[in-house]
Symmetry: C2
Subunit: 583 residues, 2 copies
């Protein structure tokens, strides 16, 4: 071992101890006759002192040659520091160095290895191994590890069994695009990388494994948006002989366990709201409930007057922004411009100031009197001093627009507090959603989700109204997990494929093994999956997942550090019986 202690553990109790440390030179301060070096490793920083009068001359001179990020080993004595640093655990001591070995030199790093670095995203990704030396990244990876371990502990104690499912599986056109892997031994055939272990975990239930989980990589070849990775990690879970209530309780327990063990926060029983309620109240199926600004529907109070914009709208809906009544005309215009940006897409916005004296001043005073506006204030739960913003138009679009405004205002008002956690369940998701382009219904969750028995009859007549035994866990405005009770009989599964537009042959070719399995004694079962990358980022109080992934890819799906993907040899192509077909 190159060290007797690490750089984070020595303190006043170690004074006079002979120690050996190894690590990186964080910085040095050369005062001529004295030279201090901050030695860094994963565990912390320890100050080294080289003193002309107390240090061997050769060692003293060698210390002067140390550059940033050199890897060194030192032997010396722990002594009391003159100028103590109360901010770090090792701040009371320093090491009077007697021996110094340079284990490796270092070129000057392309960015500073500091919490606030001067390196931009691109250069940090190219030299990710240097970026990982920085506390924000290093601590995020350690944090992720701790979360994963706590997940395993909780599930292990509840008798869940972690089972590894295969990575080389079969491509299915349903859902997102697969990454595929040409098979050399089976000419012209391809494996696919799993988008999730969905069918395998269901087969494990058929196989009697009963309580399954896995922390597992999944893959989706989609056009990447910011903060989306082609490979991502799920906490994947499934149980047999359970109803929705059991799943919600157990995985609410998991989240509560994490919040307690990792953040020291106790949370109450999670609120549960329906998908319909979420959409009506927050315009969003993953509402951030750390703050209010619930939607107030105003059709009743806004459509009986002479304002044609509202009279012709499917929905008139507003939110009361707390203590925003004093916004200037300029601020309000800024917000109107904000909702009119193409990303949001509103055509305009009405506002109502709720004055401290109980009166109202609105941009539509021409059409609405104080009594009307008082009704608006009541519907949006506005208080004196608030500002009501009102949008109108087609219901779904308008809700989405107002939801965007609500989130934006919350951010501006500092209501999205990273260290506050407000989890909830959204339940009763629709089974199907209409793809407006193709006019076809798609499974909202996936084709294995069971419809609510009482809604089955609607499948033929109003498929969009059928609710599923499907649920999402939402934390601070992010969907962190979702799942469903599954179909577990062949007939229903066949019916579902039929409604999703599969021919009988297609269904059999792609999912025949699952429907076969359902004939051999499939138990009722259900489960869910959490997105681990997102979960750890939120628990860590961060907006972006990238620092919680050791080696992330950029928005073109490239690993710029190793320069992948890359061309491969012709020999490899030939062995795989494929050739390039470039456009």
């Amino acid at each position: 071992m190159y060290r007797s202690h690490n750089c984070g553990e020595l303190n006043a109790s170690n004074i006079n101890t002979e120690v050996t440390l190894a690590g990186w030179v964080q910085k040095s301060r050369d005062k001529g006759f004295m030279n201090w070096v901050d030695l860094r490793d994963r565990y912390g920083i320890t100050q080294l002192i080289f003193d002309e009068s107390r240090t061997d001359n050769a060692v003293f001179e060698l210390a002067k040659t140390l550059g940033r990020e050199f890897v060194i080993q030192v032997k010396g004595t722990v002594i009391e520091r003159e100028a103590k640093n109360k901010n770090i655990p090792t701040g009371e001591i320093e090491i009077l160095v007697s021996e110094l070995t340079v284990l490796n030199s270092a070129l000057t790093p392309p960015f500073t290895i500091e919490d606030e670095t001067d390196g931009g995203e691109d250069i940090r990704m190219k030299y990710r191994y240097l970026d990982i030396r920085r506390n924000p990244v290093k601590n995020s990876l350690l944090f992720r590890h701790k979360v994963a371990m706590e997940v395993r502990k909780y599930l292990f104690d509840l008798d869940f069994c972690e089972v590894e499912t295969p990575y080389l599986i079969k491509s299915t056109p349903e859902g997102a695009r697969d990454f595929v892997v040409p098979s050399r031994m089976n000419q012209g055939q391809f494996y696919a990388l799993p988008q999730s272990p969905q069918t395998f975990k269901q087969l494990l239930m058929v196989g009697g494994m009963d309580k399954y989980f896995q922390i597992v990589k999944c893959f989706r070849d989609e056009d990447l948006r910011a903060d989306r990775q082609p490979e991502f990690t799920q906490i994947d879970c499934e149980m047999a002989f359970v109803e929705q209530e059991d799943i919600l309780n157990i995985f609410e327990g998991l989240t509560r366990h994490l919040l307690k063990e990792i953040k020291g926060i106790e949370v109450d029983k999670f609120p549960r709201i329906t998908y319909d309620y979420a959409m009506k109240t927050y315009g969003n199926d993953k509402p951030d409930i750390r703050f209010g600004m619930k939607f107030g529907e105003l059709n009743e109070f806004a459509q009986q007057k002479e304002f044609p914009v509202f009279n012709t709208a499917e929905l008139v809906v507003g939110i009361a922004v707390p203590e925003a009544g004093n916004y200037t005309r300029k601020e309000i215009d800024g917000l109107i411009d904000w909702v009119k940006r193409p990303q949001v897409g509103a055509s305009g916005m009405v506002y109502v100031k709720c004055n401290e004296d109980g009166t109202f001043k609105s941009s539509v005073d021409k059409f609405y009197d104080q009594e009307d506006l008082a009704n608006w204030a009541k519907a949006t739960e506005a208080n004196a001093g608030d500002m009501i913003f009102v949008l109108s138009g087609p219901a779904n679009k308008t809700r989405a627009q107002l939801s965007a405004l609500r989130m934006e205002l919350a951010a501006r008002l500092g209501l999205r507090k990273p260290e506050e956690f407000a989890p909830l369940w959204v339940v009763d998701f629709p089974l199907l959603e209409l793809d407006e382009e193709s006019g076809r219904y798609h499974a909202m969750h996936h084709p294995f989700t069971s419809p609510k028995p009482e809604d089955m009859a609607l499948l033929e007549t109003e498929p969009g109204k059928v609710r599923a035994n499907a649920y999402d866990m939402v934390l601070n405005g992010n969907e962190i997990g979702g799942g469903s009770i599954r179909i577990h009989d062949k007939a229903t599964q066949q019916l579902m494929f039929k409604y999703l537009g599969f021919t009988e042959e297609e269904a059999k070719a792609q999912f025949g093994f699952l429907m076969d399995a359902f004939q051999f004694g499939a138990p009722p079962h259900g489960g869910l999956a959490f997105g681990l990358d997102r979960l750890v980022a939120i628990l860590g109080g961060q907006e972006t997942i990238r620092d919680f992934i050791a080696f992330p890819k950029n928005n073109s799906g490239r690993d710029v550090m190793i320069d992948a993907p890359a061309a491969i040899d012709n020999t490899q192509l030939q062995e795989l019986s494929i050739k390039l077909d470039l456009k």
Copy 2:
């Protein structure tokens, strides 16, 4: 929840309790007025009783319709069993059923769901979800889970951090063949699936993570031999600021922890032998030391006489088989035939019976006297009653042949006891091995392994003699883990690539990022990887890994259950800018 208890937990202390159970019908015995059903789940079997005189008639009649593997839910009362079964935990009680719900029916399974099944390998793989219901498979998966959890606990407690490394990386022609993944977004380019996270874990050390591990899937597109899978799981570990001794101690500790926690076995400090010693003494770099039969080299005693076969051989070597002195002529001839099979390849075999009276009887009495044979007995450590078998020929080949014979005889003599564990370290592996076909040297471990400093000078003159800081952990004749101290400076790494026949351009294109990283302050580091599939199989006392993998592939790399790999759509091919190139 469909149950109040599982099928493995009720006993005499629960008598008179009302319970709800759910599970599969293992079997039923219908005696007309009485009907017993064994209800099975993951946790065990509980006997249900339906009694004409005590059970509601509708329930009683319904019970008669239950077939094997039906999924049912029952409510009833725990009662004392008349005929107790001491062999199972629930053997003292049964459930007098009051309500019965058939949750799902089942077709007759294609093989029996019993410990000893009537299903062959192929059918069991096709219906793997039914196979998993059988105790031997189910228990193997639960066992694997427990081993993995204990690995994590041990490493977590030692401050190791589990870091997920990417699955979509870059193909490198060094080593085995890669599986590749065409990139849609980067036309004509491919990712590769990792054969191991080797370079990433080294970059984590450069990044200061210090103690890394990961239980991770790895991929090799090799022609499959029995018991080899295209995807397999490694316990992958790396540490910085360590020497070989530290790695051996920590991972010996891990194995000792597993043996103690999982098997309840305490083992002494592991023996350490060099590669050279292993090859000379066991003809094998992964010797099974649960038994003796060490090699005795006989050149000194066998080559001074008139037996031309031995006189012209590079090596004459024998083993003493304990208590085999009474083998019949027929048995001996059988063994001679066995070593002459093409798989072993010996041209003949000499034997020496060590009689109880201290005399010897051999197949070469014409050439050797009693004194010669006594020397052979001494060299092979033979006792009275043993049989010595002697092979001769080119050293390496002969050692391999005798090693095969040694293992075969140990198996026949029952010396490979599955519940006995004899771990050891083999150290000082050669850095390079000669590929006889190409005449080129290959890295024996991998190109990142550091040569022993004292052997560096031999690299130019006798590359085959350079020893590496490389080590394998061997358990019961299987290599279960291996690793090395790595090169951590650019110059040595470049030199290594040069000796392995890389041009400077090739080295830079493939591993430039790693050599770059070494310039920015790389610490000394090393590690190892265990093969989890093999490790759990051995700890589980099994020869084959297949039952420890939930969904294994067959020897053609196919998953016969889901029928993968398979053809993909032309649209998919076009999107990926590839086309088929079938021969």
